[in-house]
């Protein structure tokens, strides 16, 4: 700090604490609402203090609540979300690191073309090509399958660029030394590049896990079989009640559980998370 201004420092703290309270408000209200019963919630504005139905609500959501909406068990959907997030994370990292390796460490015809094809994925998010992509997946018989849920999402230009950028900073002497020792490309990749990329892989894991966990539109398009529903789709089903009362206390309990895993990942792996976020978008 350049100069000492106690009052300004006090104001700064006050502003940040107030800011945090406002940012946390929706989550606080969700937690509080998940501890009340439905009649308390329907009879007026949400109470500001927790009620006494915490265990009841959470055990209902974990056991029977989802079935009332024609959904599979909550834990089943959570498992689906986890499988999807992990498959996307591993898949994206695997194919991106390999293609970055090819682009940086080899000279071959059409190298630039390959680079541009990868670059183009940046410009074609799923949202802008909903129908034709759905049709392709349907034609390939990949609707309602893990392959259809994950493979189309694992092409990633940003991860490839991150690895490319990192490989460019790896000293050339390492490669020369490896070649003198008679190591082939795959041995060099496995024994030298991969260990060096550990931090980058970790940072990407955090970002991609969140990316996979929060996917919504894609699973909505390619799955009709409830056995493949993820938590995010379950959320929507639970708030679209045609007639009757939305069971807010259960919806909020479900929301709290659904946002917990990625938030824990961000909070406990904050260093990797910030690194992943700022590096991939550059």
């Amino acid at each position: 700090m350049v100069e000492n201004r106690p009052f300004l420092t006090f104001l700064t703290h006050a502003f940040l604490i107030l800011g945090f309270l406002v940012v946390a408000l929706p989550v606080y209200v969700a937690i509080v609402a998940s501890t009340h019963d439905v009649s308390t919630l329907m009879s007026g504005p949400v109470p500001l203090l927790p009620g006494s139905h915490l265990i009841e609500n959470y055990s209902t959501i974990l056991t029977s609540a989802a079935a009332a909406h024609g959904l599979p068990n909550y834990s089943h959907m959570a498992l689906n979300s986890l499988i999807m997030a992990l498959a996307i994370t591993v898949g994206k990292i695997a194919i991106s690191i390999l293609s970055a390796f090819a682009i940086v460490y080899f000279r071959f015809p059409f190298r630039l073309l390959a680079f541009w094809i990868i670059f183009v994925t940046l410009m074609l998010p799923v949202e802008v090509r909903i129908m034709p992509t759905y049709k392709i997946v349907a034609d390939l018989g990949m609707l309602n399958s893990w392959a259809g849920l994950t493979i189309p999402l694992i092409a990633s230009a940003t991860a490839t660029f991150l690895f490319r950028q990192f490989f460019m900073t790896v000293p050339d002497e390492l490669l020369e030394a490896a070649r003198v020792d008679g190591a082939g490309p795959m041995k060099f990749f496995r024994d030298i590049l991969l260990p060096l990329s550990r931090t980058n892989i970790g940072a990407l894991c955090v970002i991609l896990f969140i990316y996979g966990w929060v996917q919504y539109l894609w699973p909505l398009l390619v799955t009709t079989d409830p056995g493949y529903y993820t938590l995010m789709m379950g959320m929507k089903r639970m708030v679209t009640v045609q007639d009757g009362v939305i069971q807010w206390q259960l919806v909020m309990a479900g929301s709290v559980l659904a946002m917990l895993p990625p938030i824990l990942v961000v909070v406990f792996m904050q260093r990797l998370f910030i690194r992943g976020l700022t590096e991939t978008e550059k």
């Binding site: 504005p45 080899f106 060099f188």
Partner: protein, 294 residues
């Protein structure tokens, strides 16, 4: 684009390494995009037996359709509001945290987690807060003489999705602004302090101008986010309503194509969206500094 000074000289291996990514890109990105372009120029009969080339008809219809023009305008309003709101708050938090040396890390932790909340969950949480019968906020708004009703009032529904979408994005902007502020040279700040300018003035005359590359980069990223990543917020809460008041361009592609099965029009809308993303990506890579530079 460069390689290493020394490279391996296998002929086949690089293609094998690239094969998975290129295959997925070609099959699931480029082919569907080409299909979208193709079917935007065609009309398919209702049974899918024959297609006729109709040229620019779908595009002409779109630009004559008040619904589409409304959605275009609405998306612009939505994108600019979310971007402005989340960037202003992100910047304010970053400037505050940057002033504090010891507690900066704690406040960072307290402010970054909303990034990890799924858009659909963010939508549902704010929807609940604004719920007309049980929500907290309408209860307080009522005392201010505002009758909140996002089920009937289009403006209220738009405000709801703007707040939900901006809320999620504050932490992202905060982190980038904080990184930018922390790389402002301390010597500049000290020199200005010696010349007698206070913290507020230093922020506006030194830090803010030096942040302009970050600001521009974030502007593009946020517009991109609001246009394309907010689909779950709209779908889970307002469903595009009331009376289309929250139907964004992406939501309309989904409704017309996937729900309404109007392939030609949906494809033409997809193509127009692709042009928008291409423009944004071009601007981002052409004009935005890759790193925050001073």
């Amino acid at each position: 684009m460069d390689t290493k000074r020394t490279t391996f000289n296998n002929r086949l291996l690089p293609y094998l390494l690239l094969a998975p990514q290129l295959a997925i890109t070609l099959v699931f990105f480029i082919w569907p995009a080409a299909q979208a372009v193709k079917s935007s120029f065609e009309r398919e009969d209702p049974f899918g037996f024959s297609t006729v080339f109709v040229g620019l008809t779908h595009y002409r219809q779109l630009f004559a359709d008040p619904n589409y023009l409304d959605a275009l305008w609405r998306t612009a309003v939505f994108a600019v509001s979310v971007t402005a709101l989340s960037m202003l708050l992100g910047l304010a938090f970053a400037a505050a945290v940057d002033r504090l040396a010891r507690s900066a890390k704690i406040y960072t932790t307290l402010l970054v987690w909303p990034y990890a909340v799924a858009p659909v969950v963010a939508g549902v949480l704010w929807w609940f807060l604004f719920n007309t019968s049980t929500g907290l906020l309408p209860f307080f708004l009522e005392r201010l003489g505002i009758r909140w009703d996002h089920d009937l009032n289009g403006t209220h529904a738009m405000i709801l999705i703007i707040i939900a979408a901006a809320w999620k994005q504050i932490s992202y902007n905060f982190l980038f602004f904080l990184a930018g502020l922390q790389s402002v040279p301390q010597s500049l700040i000290e020199a200005a302090a010696i010349d007698g300018s206070g913290p507020v003035r230093r922020f506006f005359t030194i830090s803010l101008p030096l942040l302009s590359p970050t600001t521009f980069f974030l502007f593009i990223i946020n517009v991109n986010y609001t246009m394309f990543d907010t689909f779950p917020i709209v779908d889970a809460t307002t469903g595009g309503g009331p009376a289309q008041a929250t139907t964004t361009l992406v939501y309309k592609v989904y409704q017309d194509g996937y729900v309404g099965l109007n392939i030609g029009s949906s494809s033409a809308q997809s193509v127009l969206l692709m042009l928008i993303v291409m423009l944004l990506t071009f601007v981002q890579f052409r004009f935005v500094e890759r790193r925050v530079q001073y």
